[in-house]
């Protein structure tokens, strides 16, 4: 399945957002997720199913003004 992760197209095997974070080895990182521009809570990632062409955002704390 081909999805966009943080703007870049990528082939993945995961079918849920939770599995995707495992596949990317982001499991132990402090991240927030969105699927097709809608926020997905940490506790909802297991139920967030991925489809071909989906856009996933994975954000992390950063310096800000």
């Amino acid at each position: 399945m081909r999805i966009k992760i943080n703007g870049e197209a990528r082939d993945v095997t995961a079918t849920t957002l939770a599995a995707l974070l495992r596949e990317l080895d982001y499991e132990d990182l402090t991240v927030a997720t969105a699927l097709n521009q809608a926020f997905v809570r940490k506790t909802d990632r297991n139920r967030a199913h991925l489809r071909d062409g989906d856009a996933v955002e994975i954000l992390t704390p950063r310096q800000g003004g």
Partner: protein, 265 residues
Amino acid sequence: MEQDSLSLYGVALASRLIIGTAQYPSPAILAKAITAAKAEVVTVSLRRESGASRAGENFWSLIREFGVRVLPNTAGCRTVKEAVTTAQMAREVFDTPWIKLEVIGEEDTLQPDVFGLVEAASILARDGFHVFPYTTEDLVVAEKLLGAGCEVLMPWGAPIGSGRGLNNPYGLRALRAHFPNVPLIVDAGIGTPSHAATAMELGYDAVLLNTAIAKAGDPAAMARAFALAVEAGRLGRLADPIEPRDMASPSTPVIGRAFTDLARA
């Protein structure tokens, strides 16, 4: 002097200087600047995870070590949807209802899109967020933001990063006079400590800045300078300054001056 504390959404703060965490030469210098500024609140953001660097993780542990309160932003968001989603993501990651709401409407000035701002503020306030809107000094927009549920307003001094200071002191004074009981914070455009002192003398409750400290030659020294300026401006405001006048008024007593009876050559 009795304790002069600032209350933002029920949180009492002794420091009236809020600083950004971006653009510092190094994390160590950022740490020195936070200490020198005596900041109790710092702004942070969310950006795309790049994977290998763990930059986000390292930054977040540095901020947590300080024990300062964070004010996450929606910097760079250009639509209501982007801003609302970013705010929701920030609330989960940073575990705070506070959000510095930016909806940017114009590329060159990074001017707020005040229409999108009011809409996003309304959505977020209804969802339990404590919204700190980055706005202009427009009184009508301010009224609508308060109506949307904002309890703090953050008008710009000048365009973000410009260092121009207070472009419209008249507008800022009018905003202060119009909303005497709303916490008002000048956010953006501050370049030097005197700009910050002026904002405080105008009666603003706090100042938020980033670039002026981060990009200074000596950020830690500049952070201290800003802390002193904010304190001086606040004290000056509370001490009830004199009114300016057009003509001189001698400060030394006139009565008893010598030579008054002698003709001038």
